[in-house]
């Protein structure tokens, strides 16, 4: 059955609760809708949204084999990680001029091993964003120390840039660093994604990454 609505102006009087009406259509036949909740509410409510944090870490250069903030989707996992949001907050130390990037590596398997692509991996903690939910992540959040056998590849910039800034003497407006890929950054099983910088940062940052877990 093909659903139809009705092309018309939005009502000038309010509809009555409990009564059915023809759905509103726009002039090009599209269904006119209103959101009820935020974009990620259903996934969060269902326990599929997670956050990982590190309270203070520097970010290494793109050629690093020692990332400090990473998400590893282990090979064999039946979920994808869809990155929802990355937020960075300044903590301490004079910064170096450069920008923050996403890097990644495929084919990293599921386990740490001597001859494996990942030889050391300090596990971070993932918190379900339906706070208190019993659903646990199937991903491996990672914080320093992480050791890769080979450097990964730059995926894209976050758009977060900084100049040489000394906190005690820098007179600057507040800075907002939030990156929302909005569905454009999917981490499959066997892949690790992590933060790098065009130049190793001297500053440290509070880092938060939010992701949703979606069946393959």
């Amino acid at each position: 059955m093909i659903i139809q609505g009705q092309v018309r102006n939005p009502n000038t009087s309010v509809a009555t609760d409990g009564v059915s009406y023809d759905a509103l259509q726009g002039k090009q036949g599209e269904l006119i809708v209103s959101d009820l909740h935020g974009k990620y509410f259903t996934q969060s409510y269902r326990g599929n949204l997670f956050v990982m944090n590190v309270t203070a870490t520097a970010i290494p250069v793109t050629t690093t084999t020692a990332p400090t903030f990473a998400l590893w989707n282990p090979q064999g996992n039946m979920k994808l990680a869809n990155i929802v949001k990355l937020s960075l907050g300044y903590v301490v130390t004079t910064s170096t001029a450069g920008n923050i990037l996403w890097s990644y590596q495929l084919g990293v398997g599921a386990n740490v091993g001597t001859a494996a692509p990942i030889t050391a991996y300090a596990a971070g903690t993932a918190t379900n964003l339906n706070i208190g939910s019993g659903v646990v992540t199937t991903m491996k959040p990672g914080i320093a120390t992480i050791t890769l056998t080979a450097a990964g590849t730059v995926l894209r910039a976050t758009g977060f840039s900084q100049l040489v800034t000394t906190p005690a003497t820098a007179y600057l407006p507040w800075v907002t660093w939030n990156d929302e890929p909005d569905g454009t950054l999917i981490v499959p099983p066997g892949c690790i994604i992590y933060l790098t910088a065009s130049v190793a940062t001297a500053s440290t940052y509070t880092c938060s990454m939010v992701w949703e877990e979606v069946p393959l």
Partner: protein
Amino acid sequence: MIIQGKVNAPTNVSGTDGVSYDVLQGKSQELIVSALHGKYFTQAYRGNVFIGTTAAAGVTPPIFSNANETFGIWNYAGSGVLAVPISCQIGYVSGTAAPGNFLYSYLTGMGSSLGTPITAFTAVNPVNAYLGAGNTAKVKFAPATITLSAAAAALTAIVKTMGVSQMTTTAASTTAPMWIAREDFDGMIVIPPNTLFMVASNVASATICDITLVWEEVPI
């Protein structure tokens, strides 16, 4: 009954008011839609969106692990609702900043009455976003005074950074462009009953700020 639309290019002729048409589908078979109102209009119209704001004089966000916090909502045990943050805005009032960043923190197991772990919570009624109408908030809001037991303060965890940072900035001597400190949560955090959610900092911020948190209340 399976609902279907019809895959088509958007018509280059406007539909006629009062006539029904097959709903448009895209090449991936998705329904093509346009929003009528803002994202949260329906919830606001139904009286389920609330605005909590500090007094204009502002507060100084402390480090998140402090026992004396200045801004938060307490979804107390038995409230019957989930609190879902919509947005947080922080505006500068005065003071020379301590370099650092703003963040959100939380505690679970917060019960429904004062004592331990929450020893003081100076609640103020939030404003319903349907101004002058709507429902009364179920969630408790404090725009200045939240006191935690030492044990509870030590357990306070970071939800995430707001991504908003400040350097040492003295209002009287700093020439800088204007800025925005705002986060849209887009439904990604759900605060169940028995939980305290706060806006704080990774250091004692030293800056006096006006803080606003907007949230919706959703049945459990």
